[in-house]
Structure formats: C-alpha cells, structure tokens
C-alpha cells in the first residue's frame, strides 16, 4: 500500500499528543500562576539623592568598592522606564556595572502630568540634566563625569555633550538615534508622516498607551500573537513566567511623553534631521557635534527595528572626537540590555572602556570623600570651564 501524500494519521497523532501535553501543562500552570511569584523590577538597592519636580536621581554604590574615579551618569529615554537596566538578578546592567566597580547615577524621568506638557528638550537637557550633572560634580568635587545615554536619552546625552563638553569625560551612547534620514525602521517612516502639531495640540502629552500601541504595531505577528503563544507553551515554568511578567510590567509601565519635547524631537530630528547635520538649536544655541571632543563609544543593534543601525552609525564620523568606537551587536533594541548573550558583550566592554579612559582623574578641589584626594584638584579645571562659559555668555 502506497504512503499517502499527507500523513494525516501522524499529524492527528501529534495533535492528540500535544493536547495531552497542554492538559498537563495547564495543571502545572495553575499552580505557578496562583502561587507566589517574584516579579519585582529594579531589585538592586539605590538611594534617591536628588529630586526636582517629577525627576529623581538614583544612586547605586558598588559593594566591592569604587574602581573608577569618575561616576557614571545614565540618562534613560522618556519612553518606558529606566527599570529596564535593572530588570532582574542575572540580567541587570546596573548590577554588572556595580560588580565592575563603577559608581552609578541614573535619571528617573518620572511620570509627566499635564503640567509638564510645556517642557521642551531645552528644559530637559539644559535644565534637569545640567542641574543633575552639577549636583553630582559638586557632590564628588569633580569637574567631569562619564555620561551614558539610552535611546532618546542617548540623543539628549549627545546634545548635552555638544553644549557642555567640559563636563563630560567620556560619552557612551547606546541604541541612540542621531541620523533620522533613513527608511530602515518603520518608526522613521511613520514619524515623517504624522502631523505632530495636531497631535501635540490635541493630546498635550503624548499618551503612553498610544505609543505602546504604535510599538506593538511595529511587529504584530510577533508582539501580539507569537509572544503570547510562547507564554502559553511555557506557563508551567516558574522562572519563565516570572521573567515574562517582569518584561510585561516593564513594557506597559510607560509614562506619557511631554508634548513640547515630542514636538521638537519629531520635527527637528525625524522630519528635518537637524541633529546629525549640526543644525539643531536647543535653548537658543546650535548643537555643534564637532564640540563632542571627548572619547565616544557607540553601541547599536543589528536587528533593532526601532533604532536601526543606519540611525546610529553616522555619529562617530560627525563628532569632533578622535577616540571613537562603534560596536554593532547582533541583537535588537532591548536585547542589547537584557539578552544573556549581550550581558557578556555589553556591560564588560563599557567598564573596560571607561577604565581605560578614566585617567587622568578630575582633580579634586578639596578632600570630601574617599575618592576626593584625586577629585580635589578638579576645581581649577571646573572654574576655568565656568569662566570660559561666562565669557562666552
């Protein structure tokens, strides 16, 4: 008897087998889902050391002692929250930095309300960011710190470094869009098509749910179907469920985006591509990328569908620094921070890179902390920078 073209019997047998597996899985899943789950985000201990309006500054101290003379300030995007860098034990960029002896400060932009809708990029960069940098420098009696930006926070960091280069020792940009003249990412295509004025005038702040819906639409097959099919297949595994719920919590824990900031970001960056051409103006000053003379390390993801490589890879060519490095990891927008493969390639590389460029230390003005003996001499440099700024003004 000839073998049939379609092995219906085998397919049916597998179906029955799968159905039995699903039954057993469902029984276990009920135990997992109804039991106690550890789904807390941001498990690493921190202190809030600075607050201004809705913005807070988190401070993380390495338990094993500080190995870098300059602290690292991390500036996250206004989209989603900075908890992504400290998602869970074993997948925490913050924890990796602390283990590497880096003292970390991280900006928590908080949840903008209606009263924040007038805040511009200038208010964020020359206002909150500059105040935070001044606070840290004052606290450490240093004239410079290391600055690291994530996504839109990276764009803010680039702008900040161009406007206040004297305060930034080293700059690390990760998945940071700076060149918007590309159609590689859907976001770039869509942002060019939207009427941002009408949007901001109508909504005030851009609702987080609207943004999240737009992000889901970037790949509905994977983000709205396949992801949950994967969850159903693994919901009997406690670790998987905990990790999945953590990620869900992070994804949908989204603050609104301040309206005027969004308006300028879309118009000047996505629609006119002014930043990479050093034509963008913030607070009445031109953002000249050639002013970025400090060392620059630029990370991006090869499969990033939000900020594609084309949006990132021009930066090193346009800045004034001669010490630049591009690193393209084979991952996506979030994978760069949370995938176990990238945990080995990302944080250790940054620690190593910063350590190599941490000297000469910012000279301290006076001994105020354990690291202050080195920091004290920086006052001269800082005063010089302030004097230069005053002269410029």
């Amino acid at each position: 008897m000839a073998q049939p073209g379609i092995p219906v019997d085998l397919i049916m047998a597998k179906l029955v087998e799968d159905a039995e597996k699903v039954g057993k899985r469902a029984q276990k899943a009920a135990d997992v889902m109804l039991g106690a789950l550890d789904t807390e985000l941001g498990p690493t201990a921190f202190r809030i050391v600075y607050e201004e309006d809705r913005v807070r500054l988190k401070h993380y101290m390495p338990a094993g002692g500080v190995q870098l003379k300059h602290p690292l300030l991390i500036v996250y995007a206004q989209i989603n929250r900075e908890t992504m860098l400290d998602l869970q034990p074993g997948r925490s960029v913050i924890k990796n930095f602390l283990d590497g002896g880096v003292e970390v400060y991280m900006v928590d932009w908080g949840y903008p309300t209606r009263k924040d809708k007038f805040l511009t990029i200038d208010d964020h960069v020359n206002g909150y960011m500059d105040n935070i940098v001044d606070f840290i420098l004052e606290r450490h009696q240093l004239s410079q710190l290391h600055l690291m930006g994530i996504c839109m926070g990276g764009t803010f960091s680039v702008i900040y470094s161009a406007l206040h280069p004297q305060k930034v020792k080293n700059l690390v940009t990760t998945v940071t869009p700076t060149n918007f003249d590309t159609n590689q990412g859907l976001l770039h295509i869509w942002m060019k098509a939207i009427d941002v004025d009408r949007m901001v005038d109508t909504f005030g702040n851009i609702p987080a749910d609207l943004m999240n819906f737009a992000f889901l639409l970037l790949n509905p097959a994977r983000l709205m179907i396949d992801k949950y099919v994967g969850f159903l297949e693994n919901m009997d595994k406690r670790d998987f469920v905990e990790n999945f719920i953590r990620m869900e919590k992070w994804i949908f824990d989204s603050p609104d985006i301040t309206g005027e900031t969004f308006r300028q970001f879309v118009k000047d960056c996505y629609q006119k591509n002014l930043l990479i051409n050093s034509q963008m103006e913030v607070g009445g000053e031109r953002v000249e990328l050639k002013n970025i003379t400090m060392p620059l390390l630029n990370f991006y993801g090869k499969f990033d569908h939000l900020v594609p490589p084309a949006a990132c890879e021009l930066l090193c060519q346009r800045v004034g620094s001669k010490d630049t490095e591009d690193i393209c990891l084979e991952t996506g927008h979030i994978g760069i921070y949370v995938s176990s493969k990238c945990q080995r390639a990302f944080s250790p590389k940054i620690i190593e890179w910063l350590k190599a460029r941490d000297q000469p230390a910012g000279r301290p003005r006076r001994a105020a902390r354990s690291t202050a003996s080195v920091a004290a001499a920086s006052g001269g440099k800082r005063r010089a920078a302030t004097a230069a700024k005053a002269k410029k003004a």
């Binding site: 209606r114 009263k115 809708k117 295509i189 869509w190 098509a193 909504f203 790949n219 509905p220 097959a221």
Partner: protein, 294 residues
C-alpha cells in the same frame, strides 16, 4: 324626507341657529360670572385679581362676538366665506402637496446621487474600497445635515454637539478602515500557507508537528505585515485614523469644556493657562538663580 330636506337646506339656517345658540349661551354665562364676582365676600375695592380680570375680558369678547355675528351683514360675509372655503382648502392642500412632493423628489435624487458619488469605485474592489466609499457617501450626502447653521441662543452649543457627532462618525469609519487594513495580512497569510502546504504535500514533505504549521504561518504573517507597513496606503490610513482620533478628541473636549463651565470645577483650559504661567515663572526663577550663582 321633509326633515332631511330641512337638514340639508344650506349653511344660512345652520349659521343662524348656531349664532342664536351662542348668544343665548354666552349672555347668561356673562351675567352669572359678573354676579359671582360681585358677590365674593371680603372682596377688596379696586381692580379684580389678574385671573378674574382675564376671564371677564374673555367672556365679554365672546358675548360681543356672538351678538355681532347675529347682525345681517356679518352673517352674509361669513356665508360668503363658507362658500369659497373649498377653493381655499384646495389651494392650501395643493401648496402643501407640492412642497412635500418637491422634498420627496429631492431626497430621492439625493439617494440616487449616493450611487453616483461613488461610481468611480464601481464597488468591484469592495473589500478595499468600501470604507473610502462610505466616507465619501457620508461626506457628500450626510455630513451637510450636521453642518446646517444653527440659530438662536444655543446655536454654539448645538453646533459643537453636531461637530462632535460628525467627528465621531468619521472616527468610526477611520477605525473600521484601519482594522480592515490590519486584517488583510491575516487573510493573505492563510492563503499563502494553504499554497505552501499544497506544495509540500505534492513533494511529500509535510511537517508532522502542528507547531511547525504555526511557525510557518507566523513567519508568513510577519512578512506580510512588514510589507504592508511600508506601503504608502498603510501610512496614509494610519495618518487618517490618527487624524480622525485627534479631531474627535478635540471636538469632544471642546464640548465638555462647556459642560464643565457650568460646574464648580476648573476646566483643562483653565489649568493649562495656570500651568503655562507656572512654567514661565519657574523658568525665569531658575535663570535668575543661575545668574545670581555666577
């Protein structure tokens, strides 16, 4: 027979009988009323209360009217009027009929035009063009009713309510169109999967695990979505639905502002003005602080 012939004798006898009866009735009623008013105990001197004065005046008018109708000349005039009544009624009816007919005709013409206004689409590509066609029909034929200028004291509120309804209907259309375009890859991916399965069946290489079919489908679906999302049609539809959503929200907020104004709560507009002032002041203070610190 005689009784019958008297009954249909003509309007003259009917009118005289009615006028006599009316005068006989209203005369005594008036007398009774005056006596009753005068006999009310404790009635103060001076003008009657407003209700009584009004009734007295009304009864006097009826009595006078009945009496005057009884005079010869008046009765003739009324009789002449009754004579021409059928003609007047006919003319009135004719006018009303013509107006109704014209309105009906206009409505039918409009209904006919509904097809004409979307003729370009032919309804052949019904799936793709239905929403555009409906939007066009709505804009051409229905929207104008919601845009009729309103009159009077409440005209602004009515206009706002109509505008909100208009934008809501447009949003529904936009959402339906957007949902439809998002559904297209699902439909297409199933078709492609069927073709692929048929191909594999021909080769005798069909996968045994159901999950393999799912994986195949998701991959196809992902590809279709990626293709769709890069098309100008999708971008335009997305822009349209976003625009419709913004329009609706703006008009709805505008309408709600009026409602909130009557309640003892501040509106968004009030708060925005306040926030703007605080923002400006804060900015000035910070700039001054920095200046002073230098």
């Amino acid at each position: 027979m005689n009784d019958r012939s008297e009954a249909v004798a003509g309007p003259e006898s009917m009118l005289s009988a009615w006028m006599k009866m009316a005068t006989d009735f209203w005369g005594p009623v008036m007398k009774q009323w005056t006596t009753a008013v005068d006999s009310v105990e404790g009635q103060p001197e001076g003008p009657l209360p407003r209700t009584m004065a009004s009734w007295s005046s009304y009864l006097k008018s009826l009595t006078a009217l009945s009496a005057s109708m009884g005079e010869g000349g008046s009765a003739d005039a009324v009789l002449k009027g009754i004579g021409v009544m059928p003609d007047v009624l006919l003319r009135l009816l004719e006018g009303a009929w013509n107006s109704t007919f014209t309105l009906q005709r206009q409505l039918i013409e409009k209904a006919g035009r509904m097809g004409a206004s979307v003729e370009a689409y032919q309804f052949e590509g019904l799936d793709q063009e239905t929403f555009k066609a409906w939007a066009e029909i709505y804009k051409e034929e229905f929207q104008q009713f919601l845009q009729v200028p309103q009159l009077g004291l409440t005209r602004f509120y009515q206009e706002k309510a109509h505008r909100t309804l208009d934008k809501f209907l447009l949003l529904q259309n936009g959402l339906a169109e957007f949902a439809n375009i998002l559904y297209l890859p699902m439909e297409q991916s199933v078709k492609v999967l069927q073709e692929k399965v048929a191909e594999l069946a021909e080769k005798g290489a069909l996968p045994e695990k159901p999950k393999d079919y799912y994986n195949m489908w998701v991959k196809i679906l992902e590809g279709h979505y990626m293709t769709l999302f890069k098309t100008p049609e999708y971008t335009q539809t997305l822009s349209r639905v976003l625009g419709a959503c913004e329009d609706y929200q703006a008009t709805r907020d505008d309408l709600l502002q009026d409602v909130l104004k009557s309640l003892p709560v501040p509106t968004n507009r009030d708060m925005d003005a306040l926030y703007k002032e605080i923002y400006t002041l804060k900015k000035k203070i910070r700039a001054l602080e920095k200046k002073a610190a230098k």
